[in-house]
């Protein structure tokens, strides 16, 4: 009775009518059945209005909630779990998804997840059809869109456009070779990178090697032409080839003989002076060969300019030499007194690594030119490498005396960036052992290089192995393995 009284008092007072003096009248008024029924109806109606309002705000609230789901990639599995409390907290009582099937997805209400293998790419909208608490079974579903981005499969984006065979200094897109060299074998593969395939440009990497029967020495060179230098494909070829030519033609048999004598003396008697003498002979010869390569490329650059000045159009090139920029690494080695003497040279960011006979220890035989930012390398075509104080030329040459080895590797950054990632890893034996494992078939594509096979087989296997996929690493790849 009191509740009804209060209700009427409040109603009347809102209209400016004060009933405090008419207490008796009010009592009689609210005990009337009709008035009582009316008050109950009004309260019911008010409650319904309130409920409807709440429903509207729940719907709006959910529609305004930003739902962000991670991007997917076409051809890959996708799975996104919604927080189990998410829909409950938003007072969403029933929900379903629309537009999933054409993307390859399904919704699992138990796990509260959408998942599947994505079969399209682009920007899509996924609809959520939903009802909120308070709505009846028969009421219509509301709709909310969420954005969903599916990236194209990265592998599908790469084109393979052949390089122009008519172009000056055209080079084969891929080249490989394998043969016996003394008591060791060599296999080398050099492949045009996807970044070049994609635009039809040339392989800038190169390699060369030679075994000198007469003296027993072997020389292996690997070079990586600079991406920004438009004729670097020729630069890398010349760098590799000319170094070998000079060693073969200009370094006398006497020098080689004298070297052998000094090294033997050192190995048998530990005579340090003999080692110093040998180093001088060996490193001098290699220094002269590198210098010859440098000079020869310079000459070819000038000759090319005389013949085709129209292709020298880069406003940033300081001289004709800059069009031929290339890195260069080299290993010259021979077995002497059951040991392997290896003389190395390097300019640029390509490593030379060696793994011992029982595959328990590996090391890097050179240091790499790297900068703060990507691309801070040095080239054999830069005169400064022969007189830099910061990076003294002498430190680029080294003489190593090693027990027998299982593998000697020379590679360009196309391999090293993908397989070793950072410079510090080249100093770690375990990383080299992982690399060996990788060559042994422990990789995504299960492609193995079986070094016990015939040359042609090993060469073909290595060529296949070289096509490995590595995100963001699509440069030319060259790998020389002496084993």
């Amino acid at each position: 009775m009191n509740r009804e009284k209060n209700y009427v008092t409040e109603l009347l007072s809102k209209q400016g009518i004060n009933v405090s003096k008419n207490e008796q009248l009010l009592d009689a008024f609210v005990s009337d059945d009709e008035i009582q029924d009316s008050i109950i109806s009004i309260k019911k109606l008010q409650k319904r209005i309130m409920e409807k309002w709440k429903i509207k705000t729940r719907v709006l609230d959910f529609k305004n909630t930003s739902i962000i789901i991670p991007n997917g990639t076409e051809g890959f599995d996708y799975n996104h779990n919604f927080d189990s409390q998410f829909f409950i907290e938003k007072e969403v009582i029933s929900y379903a998804f629309k537009g999933l099937e054409e993307l390859g997805l399904t919704f699992d209400p138990k796990a509260n997840s959408i998942s599947g293998k994505l079969i399209a790419n682009g920007s899509f909208k996924i609809q959520i059809l939903f009802k909120v608490e308070g709505e009846e079974d028969s009421s219509e579903l509301h709709e909310k869109s969420i954005n969903f981005v599916i990236n194209p499969d990265p592998k599908s984006l790469w084109k393979n456009i052949p390089s122009d065979k008519e172009a000056i200094y055209w080079k084969e897109d891929n080249r490989s070779s394998a043969m016996d060299i003394g008591d060791k074998k060599i296999v080398v593969s050099s492949k045009r990178g996807r970044s070049h395939q994609n635009v039809g440009s040339f392989r800038d990497d190169d390699f060369a090697y030679k075994h000198f029967e007469k003296t027993g020495w072997t020389v292996v060179t690997v070079a990586d032409g600079a991406g920004s230098a438009s004729l670097s494909r020729k630069g890398s070829e010349l760098a590799c080839q000319e170094l070998i030519n000079y060693l073969e033609e200009e370094v006398s048999d006497e020098t080689w003989n004298q070297f052998d004598i000094e090294i033997k003396k050192f190995i048998t008697s530990k005579d340090e002076q003999a080692l110093i003498n040998a180093k001088e002979l060996g490193i001098q010869s290699l220094y002269q060969s590198v210098l010859h390569s440098h000079k020869h490329i310079k000459k070819i650059a000038e000759d090319t300019y005389d013949q085709y000045p129209e292709i020298f159009t880069n406003p940033r090139a300081k001289n004709n030499f800059d069009y031929f920029h290339s890195t260069l690494i080299c290993a010259v080695f021979k077995k002497i007194e059951e040991k392997y003497v290896i003389i190395t040279f390097s300019v640029g960011d390509c490593p030379i690594g060696i793994v011992n006979k029982d595959k328990t220890k590996a090391k890097l035989l050179n240091w790499l030119d790297v900068g703060e930012f990507g691309g801070g390398t040095r080239f054999v075509t830069q005169a400064e490498i022969f007189h830099s104080k910061e990076r003294p030329p002498a430190t680029r040459f080294n003489l190593h005396i090693e027990e027998d080895f299982s593998y000697l590797f020379l590679m360009t950054d196309g391999i090293y960036d993908a397989k070793f990632e950072v410079e510090a890893n080249l100093e770690k034996t375990e990383k080299w052992l992982t690399f060996l494992n990788d060559l042994d078939g422990n990789n995504e594509d299960k492609i193995k290089v079986d070094f016990s096979e015939e040359h042609e087989v090993v060469e073909e296997q290595l060529n296949n192995w070289m096509d490995f996929w590595s995100k963001g690493n699509h440069d030319d790849r060259t790998l020389a393995i002496i084993y």
Partner: protein
Amino acid sequence: MRRLPVYFLLDTSGSMFGEPIQALNNALSGMISTLRSDAQASETLWISIITFDREVKEVMPLTDLQSLQLPEITCPRSGPTFTGKALEFLCEKVKNDIKKGTPDQKGDWKPLLFLFTDGKPSDLQLYKEVIPKVKAINFGAVVGCAAGNLSDDEKLKELTDTVVHLETADSNTLKQFFLWVSDTIEQGNKSMGTSSTVTLPPPPSEDIIVI
């Protein structure tokens, strides 16, 4: 893997309100789609978007293209263009974001910067002060874009040699401009492996003039 970081500094001052900001959003989204289907960019590109009006906001921190979700860029109805403050903010960001090459860490490619404005800096003093700081950052390319007749090409020229002028900030011109930006970014990708700066592709139409 080396990243190619790209910074967008976008003017959201009052004059951009309405149609221009809508056009900017559409053009950005078109550019992102184009880049997503570029083989090289889709794997290496990282994008950051900073807007500036009275306030400077990092609307999207440096994010890789594959997981990036473009936010809606909004702007107030009126207000100044604090370009100097924005550049100062950018310098701080770049310092923290960019990975330098060390024996244990792959260095990023040189970052690229695109500054888009339709007016002139309201904080001229700060703008002048911060220019040497921006230049000290080793950007692979800094492209200034001045849209519409109220923009000041000369002020941008103090920041960079590469200034692009757009006749208007309408939807079509902006779309073309940002496609040109994606070309430039793809060029940036191609010239990786060098210490030189990025070569700019030719502008797409006569409404866009490289000054």
